[in-house]
C-alpha cells in the first residue's frame, strides 16, 4: 500500500474514530493522570480478587411493610413496637419499617389485632435507612484513613428496598475488616458547669433509641429526637438541676461528645426546662438549625447519637479475603491468559487464511478493541477476575465477527467493485448486528442485577460487544476493503 492510500484510509471517519479512541484510551490509562509507579497497569482499577483485601456482605435484619388500616397508625406502630420489641418507623403514608428480621407470619397477628392489614412485605430497609448505614460505614472507614473502600447497597431484583450492604476494603485482612465494621465509638453527654468546664452526665448506653431528622412545623428548625433509659433520664435531670442548667440554661450548655470530640453543644430549651422541673424526661430532641444546613447537621447528629452503631442490626451472610500476594499471582495469570488467547487466535486465523495481509489487520483490530474496552472500563468498571473472563470472551466473539466479514466479502474471490463490496459488507454487518444484539440482551439481566458478583463480567461483555459493533467492525470493513482492492 502506498503512502497516499494510507492517508486516505486514515481520513475515513471509521478509521479516524478508531485511532482517536485507541489514543484516548491509552491517555486515559497512562497519562490522565500519569501513574508511572504502577507500570503497565497505569490507571486501571482492579477488583479485590486481584488487588488483595477483604469483603463483607451483610443482610439488614429489617422488613418494610405496606399496610392498610381504618384505625390510627400510631396504635399500629406502638403495638408492633411493644409486641416485637423492635424499633418501628413510619417511612411514608402507607409504609413502615420494622427494624428486626421478622417473618410475615410473626407480624400478621399484631396487624390483625390493630385492625390493619399487610399489603406488601419485603425484606430490607427504606432507602433512607440504607443511606444512613452507608454514611455510618463510610465514616468509620474514612476515620481509619482507608481510601480504597467501597460500600454498596444491594437491592434484589423485584424489590425496591435494599436488603444487603457489601463493603470491600483493599489491603485489609478479614479480622481487621470485621473489627472496623463492628467497632463503635464512645458517646458521652456532659454538661457545662463554669466557663469551659464540663461535668459527665451519661454515656451512649443510656440512649435507647434515636429518631430520624425531623422538621419542627412551628419554628422550621431541624432536629433529631432520642430517648433515654429511665436511669439515663434520672441522671440527666439530677445533673441539670445540680449544675444550674434548669435555672440558667444559657450558661450551662448540653455538650455531646463522640470519642472525646464535641459533636453538639446547645442550651436546654425553655420547654424542656419546664418539664424537667416536674420530673425526669425520657424523650428529647436536639435542634440543629433551619434549611439545608440544619438538615445536614441533623443527619450528622443522628449518626453521632448512635455512636457509630448501625440503625439496623446486620448479619454477615458472606465474606472473603484475598492476600495481596495471591492477587498479584492472579494478575500475572490473567495477563498470561489474555496474551495466550490472542496468540492462539492468531495462529488459528493464520492457519485458515494463510495471508498476513488479512491476519495482521484482524489481530490489530482485535487488540485495538481490547485497548478501547480497557480505556472505557478504567472509568466505569473495576476489573475483577470475572470481568477479565468477559474480556477474553470478547476476544473470542470479536474475532468471530471479523471472520464473518472477511468470508462474506471474500465470497467468490477478490472484490470487483466497491459497490458490490459495500453490498456484501452490509450483509455481513447485518449478521453481526443481530448476533451482537442477542449477546447484549442475554447479558443485560446479569448486568442489571445487584446481587451477583458477576456484574463486571456482564458489563465488560456488553461494552466489548458495543465497541465492536459501533467502532471496530466498521473500521475493519474499511481496512480489509483497502487491502483487497490494492
Amino acid at each position: 500500500m502506498n503512502r497516499e492510500a494510507i492517508i486516505n484510509l486514515i481520513k475515513d471517519w471509521r478509521i479516524a474514530l478508531l485511532l482517536v479512541l485507541v489514543i484516548g484510551a491509552l491517555i486515559g490509562i497512562y497519562l490522565a493522570p500519569p501513574n508511572p509507579e504502577k507500570g503497565l497497569e497505569g490507571n486501571l482499577q482492579f477488583g479485590l480478587d486481584l488487588e488483595g483485601g477483604s469483603w463483607l456482605q451483610m443482610e439488614f435484619q429489617s422488613v418494610v411493610v405496606s399496610y392498610s388500616t381504618d384505625r390510627s397508625v400510631e396504635d399500629l406502630i406502638e403495638n408492633l413496637h411493644r409486641g416485637l420489641e423492635a424499633e418501628v418507623i413510619q417511612i411514608d403514608a402507607d409504609h413502615i419499617e420494622i427494624r428486626k428480621g421478622v417473618s410475615r407470619a410473626d407480624i400478621e397477628p399484631i396487624f390483625a389485632a390493630s385492625g390493619a392489614k399487610i399489603v406488601t412485605y419485603h425484606k430490607g430497609v427504606s432507602p433512607y435507612t440504607a443511606d444512613d448505614v452507608k454514611r455510618i460505614l463510610s465514616k468509620k472507614v474514612n476515620a481509619l484513613g482507608m481510601q480504597d473502600a467501597k460500600i454498596n447497597l444491594l437491592t434484589p431484583t423485584g424489590s425496591e428496598y435494599p436488603q444487603y450492604v457489601r463493603i470491600e476494603l483493599a489491603g485489609v485482612d478479614m479480622a481487621t475488616a470485621q473489627e472496623i465494621v463492628g467497632k463503635q465509638g464512645m458517646f458521652e453527654i456532659r454538661i457545662q458547669t463554669t466557663g469551659n468546664e464540663t461535668e459527665h452526665v451519661l454515656f451512649g448506653d443510656q440512649i435507647t433509641s434515636v429518631g430520624l431528622p425531623q422538621k419542627d412545623p412551628q419554628y422550621q428548625t431541624w432536629g433529631v429526637g432520642f430517648t433515654f433509659s429511665d436511669t439515663g433520664a434520672r441522671a440527666f435531670r439530677e445533673a441539670a438541676i445540680e449544675h444550674g442548667a434548669v435555672d440558667n440554661p444559657a450558661a450551662h450548655h448540653l455538650v455531646m461528645l463522640l470519642d472525646n470530640e464535641t459533636v453538639y453543644s446547645a442550651p436546654l430549651s425553655g420547654e424542656l426546662v419546664a418539664q424537667m422541673r416536674s420530673g425526669p424526661v425520657r424523650s428529647l430532641s436536639a435542634t440543629t438549625g433551619t434549611g439545608d444546613a440544619g438538615l445536614e447537621d441533623a443527619m450528622a447528629l443522628e449518626i453521632h447519637l448512635r455512636a457509630g452503631a448501625l440503625p439496623v442490626k446486620v448479619e454477615i451472610v458472606g465474606s472473603g479475603s484475598v492476600p495481596a500476594a495471591l492477587g498479584e499471582h492472579f494478575k500475572t495469570m490473567v495477563a498470561l491468559a489474555g496474551l495466550l488467547a490472542l496468540l492462539t487466535v492468531g495462529v488459528v486465523i493464520y492457519y485458515r487464511y494463510r495471508e498476513p495481509s488479512i491476519v495482521i489487520p484482524m489481530l490489530a483490530i482485535n487488540l485495538a478493541e481490547i485497548i478501547i474496552l480497557l480505556g472505557v472500563a478504567r472509568f466505569i468498571q473495576q476489573l475483577d477476575l470475572a470481568s477479565i473472563a468477559g474480556l477474553i470472551a470478547v476476544i473470542g466473539t470479536g474475532i468471530d465477527q471479523l471472520v464473518i466479514i472477511t468470508d462474506e466479502v471474500l465470497h467468490e474471490g477478490r472484490v470487483p467493485s466497491s459497490n458490490l463490496y459495500m453490498k456484501r459488507y452490509g450483509r455481513a454487518f447485518g449478521i453481526i448486528a443481530v448476533a451482537a444484539a442477542t449477546v447484549i440482551i442475554a447479558m443485560l439481566p446479569l448486568a442489571l442485577m445487584d446481587l451477583s458478583t458477576l456484574r463486571g463480567f456482564a458489563i465488560i461483555t456488553i461494552l466489548g460487544t458495543m465497541i465492536g459493533i459501533l467502532v471496530t467492525r466498521p473500521a475493519y470493513g474499511k481496512v480489509i476493503m483497502a487491502i483487497l482492492s490494492k
Binding site: 495469570m333 491468559a337 488467547a341 473470542g396 466473539t397 468470508d407 446481587l451 463480567f457
Partner: protein, 284 residues
C-alpha cells in the same frame, strides 16, 4: 479435525436432526431426574448452596489437608497443576466458621477465602434463575424480530435451548457444579450459540444461489468462527486451571463444552430444520 470433514449436504433433514434431538431428550431426562431427586436441575456449588471455598498454594498433600480440616464439613479438595489447592466446605454455623477461619489463618495465612451463607445462597439462586429466564426470553424476541419468520427463528431458539440443556446435563454428569460463574457461562453460551445460527440462517435465507453451496459456505465460515472462539477459550482454560483461578476455570470449562455442543446443534439440528424448511417451501 474430524468434524471439519462432516459433509453438511450428505444427509437428509431427518437424519440431521435425529442425534441432537435424542441427546436433547436424554439431557432433559438427566436434568429432570436431578430436579426430582434434589429439587434443583444441577448440583449447586458454594455460591448457591452456601459454604466456604479456600484457594491456597501449599506443598501439603491432599491427605494432610483432609486430616487438618477433618472436624469441619469438608466437601472436596481439588488439586491444580503445581501446588495450587481448592478446598470446599459445606455450610456451617457461625461459631464453627469462626473457628475454621482461625484455623485457616493459622495454617495457611496466604489463602483466598470466600464464604457464602446458606440463605444468601438461596437468594442468589433465585436471582440467577431470573437472569437465565430473562436472557432466554430476550434472546428469543431479538431472533424473532430479526427473521420475522416462525420456523427459522424457532430453529435458532431451539438450538440455543438445546445448547444450554445439553451443556447443563454434561456439567451434571462430569460434576461441574452450578455456580455464579457457570451460570454466567451458560448465559454467554446463548450469545455464542446464536452467532453461528444467525450466520447460517442469514446465508441460507437471504443469499441467492444453490442451497448446497450456501450450506457448505456457511459451514466453512461457521467452523472457523467456532474454532477461533474455542482456541481463545481453551487458552483461558489452560492458564486459569493451571493458575488455580477457580471462577475463570469454571467459566472456561462450561464454554468449552458448550461450544462443542453448539457445533452439533448448529450444523445438525438448526441446519437440518432449515434445510427441511427450504426444501418443503421450494416444492410448493
Amino acid at each position: 479435525m474430524e468434524f471439519v470433514r462432516y459433509d453438511i449436504n450428505k444427509y437428509s433433514p431427518r437424519q440431521m436432526v435425529t442425534l441432537p434431538l435424542v441427546l436433547l431428550l436424554i439431557a432433559g431426562m438427566v436434568l429432570g431426574y436431578t430436579t426430582l431427586t434434589t429439587g434443583l436441575p444441577l448440583q449447586p456449588g458454594i455460591d448457591f448452596a452456601g459454604g466456604t471455598a479456600v484457594t491456597v498454594f501449599t506443598s501439603d498433600s491432599r491427605e494432610t489437608i483432609e486430616a487438618t480440616f477433618a472436624a469441619y464439613p469438608l466437601l472436596s479438595v481439588g488439586e491444580g497443576i503445581g501446588s495450587g489447592k481448592y478446598i470446599q466446605f459445606g455450610p456451617m454455623d457461625n461459631a464453627q466458621y469462626q473457628s475454621l477461619s482461625a484455623l485457616i489463618n493459622e495454617k495457611y495465612p496466604d489463602a483466598k477465602v470466600d464464604q457464602i451463607g446458606e440463605t444468601f445462597g438461596k437468594a442468589l439462586q433465585g436471582q440467577a434463575f431470573l437472569a437465565v429466564l430473562f436472557s432466554f426470553i430476550g434472546m428469543s424476541i431479538v431472533v424473532l424480530i430479526a427473521f420475522r419468520n416462525l420456523i427459522p427463528a424457532g430453529a435458532v431458539v431451539l438450538a440455543a435451548l438445546a445448547d444450554i440443556v445439553v451443556t447443563a446435563a454434561v456439567m451434571q454428569i462430569i460434576g461441574i457444579p452450578l455456580s455464579l460463574g457457570t451460570t454466567a457461562a451458560l448465559l454467554m453460551l446463548i450469545g455464542y450459540s446464536v452467532d453461528s445460527d444467525i450466520l447460517l440462517t442469514t446465508r441460507v435465507l437471504k443469499r441467492k444461489g444453490k442451497l448446497e453451496d450456501k450450506l457448505a459456505g456457511a459451514f466453512r465460515t461457521g467452523i472457523i468462527m467456532t474454532t477461533t472462539t474455542l482456541s481463545a477459550i481453551a487458552a483461558m482454560w489452560v492458564v486459569s486451571t493451571a493458575g488455580q483461578i477457580q471462577i475463570i476455570s469454571e467459566i472456561a470449562s462450561v464454554l468449552l463444552i458448550g461450544l462443542f455442543v453448539d457445533l452439533m446443534n448448529t450444523w445438525m439440528l438448526n441446519a437440518g430444520i432449515l434445510k427441511g424448511y427450504v426444501l418443503r417451501s421450494g416444492k410448493k
